[in-house]
């Protein structure tokens, strides 16, 4: 493992939207130091859709928090858009969280413009931008509704719109569809791919679902149980745009099986 010295200001690879080098994380638990993540290396070229799968508690959410600048790693470097990230930077990274992350006292459009409010963007400009994002995610005309008046799928569409509103090159998604029913989840996956193709963002997506992983990804990173390591990197070269029919193909099944074997047999 090469040691990464101070990389501030160096643009090592302009084409990698997200780059992680030798990242490890240890946290202080009840009975001493607990290794959570070990020697994580990843390089996500701009515009790629990468999915991270792994068992519960493998540290994938921690890794995502670090990519978002919300949590500090013990060692190693994270570069987003060629520059290190050590604090949240919404101009480079948008985050879509698990369910219930919308503000219930704000309407859908106010939730979407929230990041722009924090940046003191002029009212008319941020409203127009938020409306455009709602249109992009298929919620044109729903802006005035409060979250409790929206279905689970619609709420996550609003979350995606909020993640995209500042037009960051990278979108991080932490099990965004985990709380949805199977049917809505499939539809949302499909919708996400449409939005991704339309916006050409780099996406790092975390999930438990192997089917979702294969369906969405260009590349699947399989993580081990704690301490989380990357066990396998699987390129999914199913053609795009993806269709539901592909899930029934032998190729799809073989990829899914390969990931399953990795997770199942991991120590």
């Amino acid at each position: 493992m090469q040691h990464v010295a101070n990389v501030t200001g160096t643009r090592t690879d302009a084409r990698a939207a997200v780059e992680v080098r030798g990242l490890s994380h240890v946290y202080a638990g009840r009975d001493g130091a607990v290794p959570a993540l070990e020697a994580i290396d990843m390089k996500v070229p701009a515009g790629r859709f990468v999915v991270i799968v792994g068992p519960s508690g493998c540290g994938k959410t921690s890794l995502l928090m670090m990519l978002a600048g919300l949590r500090a790693q013990s060692s190693g470097a994270i570069l987003v858009d060629g520059r290190p990230i050590d604090r949240p930077d919404p101009s480079r990274v948008g985050v879509v969280f698990q369910e219930a992350s919308l503000y219930p006292w704000l309407t859908a459009v106010e939730n979407v413009e929230f990041p722009l409010v924090l940046k003191h963007a002029p009212r008319a400009e941020r409203r127009a931008r938020a409306e455009a994002m709602l249109k992009l995610v298929g919620l044109d005309g729903f802006g005035a509704r409060h979250p409790h008046e929206l279905s689970g799928g619609m709420k996550q569409r609003v979350s995606i719109a909020r993640g995209l509103v500042q037009d960051p090159p990278v979108l991080l998604m932490d099990e965004p569809f985990a709380a949805l029913d199977e049917q809505t989840r499939m539809t949302m996956g499909h919708e996400l791919l449409r939005i991704w193709e339309q916006t050409s963002k780099t996406v790092v997506f975390i999930t438990h679902s192997l089917t979702e992983a294969v369906y969405l990804a260009d590349e699947v990173l399989v993580m081990s149980a704690r301490p989380g390591r990357i066990l396998d990197r699987i390129t999914v070269d199913l053609p795009r745009p993806r269709t539901y029919q592909m899930m029934a193909t032998e190729e799809f099944g073989a990829l899914r099986e390969r990931i399953w074997q990795q997770i199942r047999t991991a120590p």
């Binding site: 978002a68 600048g69 919300l70 604090r87 949240p88 930077d89 919404p90 990274v93 985050v95 969280f97 698990q98 219930a100 992350s101 503000y103 219930p104 006292w105 704000l106 929230f114 990041p115 409010v117 924090l118 940046k119 409060h146 979250p147 409790h148």
Partner: protein, 250 residues
């Protein structure tokens, strides 16, 4: 329309109670000495509202209520927020506050008289004391009701501490805080009344106690109507504000 019919039934019930209040003593079915007819009570209300000593008493009582409230609410809110935000402070003081909260505050009334004498400071101190615990507990609960995900979202979009306070903490806490304001006023008003009725020279509570002792039931009930109306007006005003700020709570 279910809502409209409900209102009609409620008003009908109110009218029936008022009618019985008037009729039962007049018909001799209840002792008119104990429960004077409504019309007599209303006449007494008009009479006392024209009296200078009643005006003075109302002024004193209102001042006591307001000053005690203005002391207890911000102080209690600050302590409650501190107890919720600072784990060390919370661990030390929360159990203690919890125990004292359960004790009826009226048993301390004599101590307040000994410490402050009989007068304005004693009323304010006692009322603030009987109010502050509920404010501390509610403020602490309000802070704890703020969702960790909501804070995380704000941080991920680069919110400053001041923005997190204004855009996440305050809107999250507002419904609980308004409810706390309403309930604290009940404690506060009760505190002032008890202190006045127990030992006092002025104040509407003193007058009501005097009327009771002198068996002037029409005046006593007129005083009750007056205070009940004031308490209900405050309660309803805060409740309507609460309803406007809590439409999102499901």
């Amino acid at each position: 329309m279910r809502g409209a019919s409900l209102i009609i039934v409620r008003l009908g019930l109110l009218a029936a109670v008022l009618l019985l209040w008037e009729a039962l003593p007049r018909l001799g079915l209840v002792n008119a000495m104990l429960l004077p007819p409504l019309s007599d009570v209303l006449a007494a209300l008009v009479h006392i509202l024209g009296r200078g000593d009643v005006h003075a008493s109302l002024g004193v009582t209102a001042a006591e209520v307001v000053v005690a409230f203005v002391i207890a609410v911000p102080l209690g809110a600050a302590l409650g927020i501190l107890a919720a935000e600072n784990a060390y402070f919370g661990d030390i003081f929360k159990p203690m506050l919890f125990y004292v909260f359960s004790v009826p505050k009226s048993i301390f009334l004599s101590m307040f008289i000994l410490a402050f004498g009989i007068g304005f400071p004693q009323k304010v101190a006692y009322a603030a004391f009987s109010t502050i615990f509920i404010v501390i507990m509610s403020a602490s609960a309000a802070v704890e009701s703020v969702k960790a995900e909501h804070l995380l979202v704000a941080r991920s979009y680069g919110a400053t501490q001041a923005q997190i306070l204004r855009r996440v903490y305050i809107p999250s806490m507002l419904p609980i805080l308004l409810e706390a304001l309403r309930i604290s006023m009940i404690f506060n008003f009760t505190g002032v009344m008890i202190a006045e009725m127990y030992a006092s020279r002025v104040g509407i509570g003193r007058l009501i106690a005097d009327w009771g002792e002198n068996f002037e039931m029409a005046k006593l009930l007129a005083g009750v109507i007056l205070l009940a109306a004031a308490a209900m007006a405050f309660n309803e005003a805060v409740r309507s504000l609460e309803a406007r700020c809590s439409t999102w709570r499901t």
